[in-house]
Amino acid sequence: MMGPFIPLNILALLLYAASAAGYGAGLVLDAKNAPIADNRLRLAGLARPLLLMGIGVQVAATGAWCVSTHLSPFAAEYGTLSVLAWILALALAAADLKYHITAVNAVAMPVACLILFWGLMHSDRNPDETSLLKSQAISVHVLCILTSFALFALAFGCACCYLLQHRLLKSRSVRPFLRRLPPLATLDTVAYQATAFGLPLLAVGIGLGIVYMAKDRPGLTPMQWIFDPHNFIAFTLLFLYALYIVARLLFGWRGVRLQYILVAGLVLTLALYMVPNVTHHFQARSTSVSGA
C-alpha cells in the first residue's frame, strides 16, 4: 500500500540518518580539539535541527497515514514501528536539548533509524482493519507501551554510556573520541528520569491490556494469560524497572549496578518483541499486529 506517508517516512529516515551521522561525526571529529568533560558538540548544532526536522516530517507522515487509511497507525507493523521511532527520536531530542547528551544521541539515533527502516521494510503488508484496532483504549495501550519502550531505550543508551565512562575513568584512559561522553551524574539523571516516566506508562499500558483481556477475552484463565511468554516477560520487565526505581528512589542507590538493570531491561524489551505470542494478539490475526 503506497501513500504519501511512505515518501515522507523515507525523508524522515534520511533526516534521522543525517542527524545520526552528524552526532557521530561530532563525537569523533570535534573531540580532537575539545576540552575534557565538555559534552557539547559543535557538529551537534547541525545534527539537532536535522533531528527536529525528521520528527516534524514523521508527524506529517503519520497524519497522512491516518487521513488516507482512516486507521490507527498501530493497525500495521509499519505504522507501529514508525511511531516507535518517532517517540524515540522525540525523547532523544528532548534529552539533548535539556542535558546536551549528544554523545548518547550519537549511539541511540542509529537505533531510531533502524526501527524506522525496519518499519519501512514491512510497509507492503496490509493493515489490520479489525474493529479492535479502532478502539481508543487499545491505541492508548499501544502508545503507552511504545512510549515506555522508547524511554527505556533512552535509559539503556545512557546506561551504556555510563558503563563506558565508568570503565574509562577506572582505567584512567582518555581516548580522544570518548572524551565527549557526558558526566556520570548526567547520565544517571537522564536514565533515571527516562525510567521514572517510562515505568508508569508501561504499567498503564499493561493495565489497559489486562482490562481488555478481562472484558473481551473471557475464555482465557488468568494462569493461561500470565504464563504466556509475552505477558510473562512484560511483567518481568515491569518488575525489573520497578526494582530500579525503588532502589534509586527509596534506598538512594546509585552507581554501576543500577545501570546493569537498565541494560537488562532493554534486553528483555527486545525479547518481548521476539518471543511468540499465544494469547497476546488481535482477534483477526494469529500473530501480534502491534508488536507491543
Binding site: 580539539n33 576540552p35 575534557i36 568533560a37 565538555d38 565512562q165 574509562l168 575513568l169 577506572k170 584512567r172 582518555v174 580522544p176 561522553l181 557526558p182 558526566p183 556520570l184 551524574a185 548526567t186 539523571t189 534506598f251 538512594g252 542507590w253 546509585r254 552507581g255 554501576v256 549496578r257 543500577l258
Partner: protein
C-alpha cells in the same frame, strides 16, 4: 669545578619508586646536613611530585661527584643503589644548566605549562640559601632559571593555559559530576597542593568544603580561606569519607592512610554514590587497591597529569617558543659560568703584574728618593697605568674566550697560565718569574 645534576623524574621513574625519594621541607635540613657530611657543600635539592633532583657544584671529578651523590641518595632515603641506579639521570655543566632552564620553563613537566613548578624551584633555592648550601654559581643558575620561567609565563601562550594538577582534577571531576555546586570536598592534609587543587574546584562552584589535618588549627586556617569548615583528622575517616564526593589527599604521612579495607564499609554506606579521590601526596596517601572498589575513582599525580597531557601537547607551538627562551637563558648562564671559570686566571695575572710593579718600585724606590712625593706619586701612577694598559686586552680576550665568544681554537686561559708561568692554583700568589737583580747585583726575588 664541575656543575652537575642528578635525579629521578617522571620520565624515567615510576611513582612507586619516586615516592621513596620524596624530600619534604621538614626533612630538607637533615638532607643538607647529610650532604655536608658527604663533602658536597654547594647543592640545591629540588623535590616535587614529578622529580627529586640535586644540583651540585663541586671541586672534584665528574665520576667522584656522581658516586658521592648516588651514595647520598641511597643512604639518606634508605633505598639500595641497585633499585634506582638505572632510573637516574646524570647531567653535567651545559646539560645540567639547560635541564634546569627546561624544568623552570615547565617544559620538562608532564603537563606542559603547569604553573606550580616555578614556585617549587624558587622554594628549593630559598631552602638551600637559608641553610647556606646555595653558593654563588648555583644561586646564579637558579636565578637564571627563575627568570626563564617568568619569561615563558609572560612571553608565551604556554603559561596562559596554566595547566596543573588542580586543573586536571577539575577536568576529571567534570567527567563524574555535572553540578559542582552540589559536590562535597573533603581535604585530607592542609598543604599547599591540596589548597591549590581545592581552590580550582571551589572556583568551579563547589560550596561544601571540609578540611581535616593532624594539626587542627591549620585545618581551621585553610577552611577559612576556602570558605569551608574544619574537621578532626580521625572523624574524616568516618563521617567525612561517607559524605564527601571528592577527596583530596595530600598529607605528609610516610605511608598510605586510606586502604581498601577501611573504605569498603564506607562505600557500602554510600550506596554506590561515586567517590573521586585525588591523591596528590608523595608518598601516596591512598592504597592503589582502593581503585578496585566499585564507584571509587582514584587518581594520583601521574594519572591526573597523563589525563591532561594530550591537551598540553596541543600547545606544541607555544612549547617551541618556550624552548627557545630556555635555550637563550641557558646560553646567558653559560656565558657567565664560563667567564667565571677564567676568573682565577685573571686574578693570578693581575696579582703577577702587581707584584712585578711592587718589586720594581721597591728596587728603584731608593734612587727616586731625591724626588718630591708628588713626582714619586706621578711615576707610580704611570707605572700602574702602563701595567693596566698591558693587561687590559689580554683580560678582555680571556673573558670572551671563556664565555665561548673567542675565535682562537685554544684555551686562552691555559695559554696565559703557560705564557706567564702561572701555576693555575687560583691564589695568584705563587708566581714564577725570571730573577730580577737589584742595582747592587743581588737578586731581589727569585722563586723556582
Amino acid at each position: 669545578m664541575i656543575l652537575a645534576q642528578i635525579g629521578l623524574s617522571h620520565h624515567t621513574t615510576p611513582i612507586q619508586l619516586r615516592e621513596r625519594f620524596s624530600c619534604p621541607d621538614s626533612a630538607i635540613t637533615n638532607a643538607y646536613h647529610t650532604l655536608h657530611g658527604f663533602g658536597v657543600n654547594e647543592v640545591v635539592i629540588v623535590s616535587t611530585c614529578n622529580r627529586v633532583e640535586l644540583y651540585a657544584c663541586a671541586e672534584m671529578s665528574e665520576e667522584a661527584l656522581r658516586r658521592t651523590l648516588v651514595r647520598f641518595l641511597s643512604q639518606f632515603h634508605h633505598v639500595p643503589e641497585r633499585d634506582f641506579d638505572q632510573h637516574l639521570q646524570w647531567r653535567v655543566d651545559q646539560e645540567a644548566a639547560a635541564h634546569l632552564m627546561r624544568v623552570a620553563a615547565s617544559l620538562d613537566s608532564l603537563v606542559l605549562g603547569e604553573a606550580q613548578i616555578l614556585g617549587q624551584v624558587r622554594n628549593a633555592l630559598r631552602l638551600a640559601q637559608d641553610r647556606g648550601h646555595a653558593g654563588y654559581t648555583l644561586t646564579r643558575l637558579f636565578e637564571q632559571a627563575l627568570h626563564t620561567g617568568k619569561r615563558v609565563q609572560t612571553e608565551t601562550g604556554l603559561g596562559r593555559g596554566r595547566y596543573s594538577v588542580g586543573h586536571a582534577a577539575v577536568e576529571m571531576a567534570g567527567r563524574i559530576f555535572d553540578d559542582f555546586s552540589k559536590a562535597k570536598i573533603l581535604i585530607l592534609g592542609a598543604g599547599k597542593m591540596s589548597e591549590v587543587t581545592a581552590r580550582h574546584l571551589v572556583e568551579k562552584g563547589v560550596k561544601w568544603v571540609v578540611v581535616a589535618n593532624r594539626t587542627y588549627q591549620r585545618a581551621v586556617d585553610l577552611a577559612i580561606q576556602l570558605g569551608g569548615s574544619a574537621m578532626a583528622f580521625d572523624d574524616a575517616f568516618n563521617s567525612g569519607l561517607a559524605d564527601a564526593d571528592i577527596v583530596i589527599a595530600s598529607t605528609a604521612a610516610p605511608h598510605a592512610i586510606i586502604h581498601r579495607s577501611n573504605l569498603q564499609p564506607i562505600m557500602r554506606r554510600r550506596r554506590g554514590k561515586p567517590l573521586f579521590i585525588i591523591d596528590i601526596a608523595i608518598p601516596r596517601d591512598v592504597d592503589p587497591n582502593v581503585n578496585t572498589l566499585e564507584n571509587v575513582f582514584l587518581y594520583n599525580v601521574d594519572d591526573l597529569q597523563h589525563c591532561v597531557h594530550e591537551d598540553a601537547t596541543r600547545r606544541a607551538g607555544e612549547a617551541e617558543s618556550a624552548r627557545l627562551i630556555a635555550e637563550e637563558e641557558t646560553l646567558a648562564f653559560l656565558g657567565w659560568y664560563r667567564a667565571r671559570q677564567a676568573t682565577p686566571t685573571i686574578a693570578q695575572l693581575k696579582n703577577h703584574l702587581d707584584e712585578i710593579k711592587e718589586d720594581y718600585m721597591r728596587i728603584f724606590g731608593p734612587r727616586l728618593a731625591h724626588l718630591s712625593a708628588k713626582d714619586r706619586q706621578t711615576i707610580e701612577t704611570m707605572v700602574q697605568s702602563m701595567m693596566d694598559q698591558v693587561a687590559r686586552q689580554p683580560i678582555q680576550k680571556l673573558k670572551r674566550d671563556a664565555a665561548g665568544e673567542g675565535t682562537v681554537p685554544i684555551s686562552l686561559a691555559a695559554a696565559t697560565l703557560h705564557l706567564f708561568g702561572l701555576d693555575g692554583s687560583g691564589s695568584g700568589a705563587e708566581v714564577v718569574t725570571e730573577s730580577v737583580e737589584a742595582p747592587d747585583g743581588a737578586p731581589v726575588r727569585e722563586t723556582a
